[in-house]
Structures are given as C-alpha cells and as structure tokens.
Symmetry: C2
Subunit: 292 residues, 2 copies
C-alpha cells in the first residue's frame, strides 16, 4: 500500500544581516527537523537576507542569484543526505533588470523546478513591485514521496484563485514561504485583526480545496526604513477542515512538525464534494479585473 | 453626502409544516426588524416550507411557484410599507419539469430581479439535484439605498468563485439565505469542525473581497427521512476583516441587526489592495474542472 502520511517541517526564523549566517541557520534547522522525522521542509520567504523590500534601493539587486544556481546546489546535497525535499525561497536573477521572487523545489533527487511569485505586493515597507516581476510560470505542483505540493509565496495567500489552481493541478498541500508583519504604528489598532484575517483566509483555502495548507513566516523586528516591520511569526499548518494542527508563537525562532494525512483529505472530499459541483461554465468572469 | 451605513436584518427561524404559518412568521419578523431600523432583511433559504429536499418525492414539486408571482407580490407590499428591501428565497417553477432554487430581490420600488442558485448540492438528506436545475442567470448585484448586494444561496458558500464574481460586479454585501445543519449521527464527531469550516470559509469571502458577508440560516430539527437534519442556526454577519459583527445561537429563532459601513470597506481595500494585484492573465485555469 502506498504511503498515506507525510511529515512536514516548518522553519520559522529571524534573519541577521549576514547571508552566510542565515544560510548556516537554515541548514542547521533543516538537519534538526530531518532528524525529528520531517520529510519535506519549508523555509520562510527570502530567508538568506533581511527583508530588503522595506526600501527601494538598487544595491539590493546584488543579493539576487540564478535559480538553479549556487544556493540550490548546497540544498540539493542536504536534501539528498537527509532523503527529504525542501521548499527554498530565493531572490532570482534572470538577467540584469529582470528578477523574480522565486521558490525552488528540491527533492532527494535534486532540483525539480521553480515557482515564481504570482501576486506581487506594493505597500508601505513592502515595495516588492520595485524588485520583482510578476511570476510568469503559472502555478504548479511538485511530487515528493507520492504527495503533490504546490508552492506559493506570501501575498499569493490573499488570492483564492492561486490556491484553487494549485488544487486543480492536484495539490495535497499548499505551502507558503512568507514574510508578513505589522507596521508598528498600526499594531495596537489593527494588529490582531490583520493577523486573524491572514490566518482565516489561509484556513479557507484548505476548506475550499480539501487540502492541507502550510505557512512558514519570518519573525523579529527589522528596520530598514521608518519604524520597520515587526514580522509576526505564528507560522502554522491546517488540515482540510481548516483546523490548526501546528502553530508557532509570535516572537521566537521555532521549528514545527506536522502530519499530512491523505485519509483526512479523502474523508473531507467525500463528505463535501465541492470539486464535483463547480460551475466552470460560469467562471470566465473570474478572469476580469472588474465587472461593474 | 451619500449614505455610508446600512442596517441589515437577519431572520433565523425554524419552519412548521404550514406554509401559511411560515409566511406569517416571516412577515412578523420583517415588520419587527424594520421597526428596529433594518433597511434590508434576509430570510432563510426556502423559508415557506420545511426543508423537503431531505427526500426525493415528486409531490414536493407542488410547493413551487412562479417568481415573480404570488409570494413576491405579498412582500412587495411589505417592502414598500416599511421602505426596506427583502432577500426572499423561493422554490421557483419555470414550467413542469424545470425548477430553480431562487432568490427574489425586492426593494421598496418592488420586485427588482432574481438569482438562481448556482451550485447545487447532493448529499445524503440534501438531495437538491433532484429538485433544482443549476442556476442559469449568473451572479448579479442589486442596489438598495446606494449599497450593492449580491444574493447567493447556501451551497454557493463553499465556492470562492461565486463570492469573487459578486464582488467583481460591485457587491458591498454578499447575502446567503441558508439551510445547513448536522446529520445527527455525525454531530458528536464532526459537528464542531463542520460548523467552523462553514463559518471560516464565509469569513474568508469577506477578507478576499473586502466586503461584508451576511448569512441567514434556519434552525431546528426536521425529520423527513432517517434521523433528519438538525439545522445549526448560528446565522452571522462579518465585516471585511472577517470579524463577526452579529451572531445568533444554535437553537432558537433570532432576529439580528448589523451595520454595513462603506468606510470600513474603504479602509480595508485601501490597506490591502487585492483587486489591484489579481493576475487575470493566469486565471483561465479556474474555468476547468481539473488540471491534473
């Protein structure tokens, strides 16, 4: 009988100014989680650096690299040594003047392919549209140990369309490397409701699609401009019912383990067969920016 | 300055075997809520009868009526007398052999149009595919006092696509007349998670679309077949952050009032401009049943 459970590891961490230190910390985290049984591990968005998108500065283009390239090579060895897969968020350079916010999917057989962030934010202190072109590869699944994983990235979290396409392509798990936090001056009035909205919409992707959702956020206060961003941590995983099966706190580095269970997906989708009843004959309107 | 707030009334009720009694109770509820300031009132799904879809029996086709027709006429007068609008769920007969699960939207100026349930369930004790053809009118908004309302119905709740189309057409409010409950034999093991999944996905529609969501459910235990259905009540309304601003209990008839505030919608959509970043160039995949 084929494997029905997969152990997924989530690394929540803060970042230092040193890419080497961040790399070492990520590797240490992965090796630790693999020893605890993790078979697929996700790192936060752009884990090699602080979140430089807080300002628009051309010097940060120098942080970019080719994908696949030097960093994927390092993690290919780690994936092979541990017999695991890794969801690896990188700042991808295609050529001077064209960059993407990219995830490389690496299995124990090596680099499998990449996903380029589809939805790009531009908000005070989150100036991603300056750095990244909108992803041009669509949304796809990667297979590991019989499980299908659709990597998505942060701002994609707010768009039910992205989750749906991942699920239609066969995802059992939607995985979101993330860098989200509070503007310190809004935290008192809006902090709790912003966090809950973020958690709620991702729980809903699990429900709408009868799949698991896994989120790895960064944590810590980073100051590039103004008051900076207080990354809110609270990485989590939910089952198809939207129930939280793992959750980190808001302040510290944490490594979580959670179990993906195909039997739970089957029970949910048999009980609530949403895929059967979608009215695809009426959905062409979705591909419009507005209809009013 | 144009009106920025709208008071919405939600009627949660049980139904008896007598359509006349159910009609009288609905009218009484509407008049009471209008006196308390409600300007738009929603009744539960198919409020004129018990939830006959628990069994497949051709005799129930006799419960259907034309829309507009005798019942809309009654509520047109009530809407005019109270200067309110009403979201009215009816079993629509088009002709012998063709029926829809329909909402009539009635304002103080009379019948404005109808919505036919897009997504039709078929689950033990919810045999709606036997009675209703899938809606053929698409998803549309109706205007009342400067607010745009997209009526949707029950099972539509599980489909982010339906909510999105309503919002793209300009909805400030998505309103769902509903008849959802527990199979008594599942309640102990799955009752809480089913209710929370249902609430969560609707909260997420508010978040994804920066709008309000309003739900009117029926309540009470109805036995047409087997153990019947225990309708779980808990009608509610949420603001764009997905915060619950009104909620009924699980057991009793209740009439709720909630305030829709365009300033809250504006604050939310300015802070999180999701509509700006939708990748409509990539969404044609949504109009497929599967992609794997």
């Amino acid at each position: 009988m084929s494997k029905r459970q997969l152990q997924v590891g989530i690394i929540q961490s803060s970042m230092s100014d040193s890419p080497i230190d961040n790399l070492d910390k990520a590797i240490e985290g992965i090796n630790g989680l693999a020893k605890r049984g993790a078979e697929c591990i996700v790192l936060p968005e752009l884990f090699l650096t602080k979140y430089f998108c807080q300002s628009e500065d051309t010097k940060f283009f120098n942080l970019s690299e080719e994908v696949p390239g030097k960093t994927t090579k390092i993690f290919e060895k780690i994936a092979k040594d541990n017999d695991i897969s890794i969801v690896l968020s990188l700042f991808e350079k295609v050529k001077t003047g064209l960059y993407f916010n990219t995830v490389a999917f690496i299995s124990s057989d090596g680099y499998q392919g990449k996903y380029r962030k589809t939805h790009i934010p531009d908000d005070p202190n989150f100036y991603e549209k300056f750095y990244f072109a909108p992803g041009d590869l669509g949304i796809n699944c990667y297979e590991t140990k019989g499980f299908n994983i659709a990597p998505l990235i942060c701002w994609d979290q707010w768009f039910p369309e992205a989750a749906r396409i991942g699920a239609l392509k066969g995802a059992n798990i939607l995985i979101y490397p993330t860098a989200i936090g509070w503007h310190p001056n809004e935290k008192a009035t809006h902090g709790e409701k912003q966090f809950l909205a973020w958690q709620t919409i991702q729980r809903s992707h699990a429900i709408a699609n009868g799949c698991y959702v896994v989120v790895a956020n960064r944590v810590g206060h980073e100051n590039f401009a103004g008051d900076g961003i207080e990354f809110w941590g609270q990485s989590f995983a939910v089952n198809p019912y939207g129930e939280i099966i793992a959750k980190a706190g808001p302040k510290q580095d944490e490594h979580l383990l959670c179990e993906i269970n195909l039997d739970v997906i089957e029970e949910f989708r048999h009980g609530w067969p949403f895929f059967r009843d979608r009215r695809v004959d009426l959905y062409s309107d979705i591909a419009k920016l507005h209809l009013d």
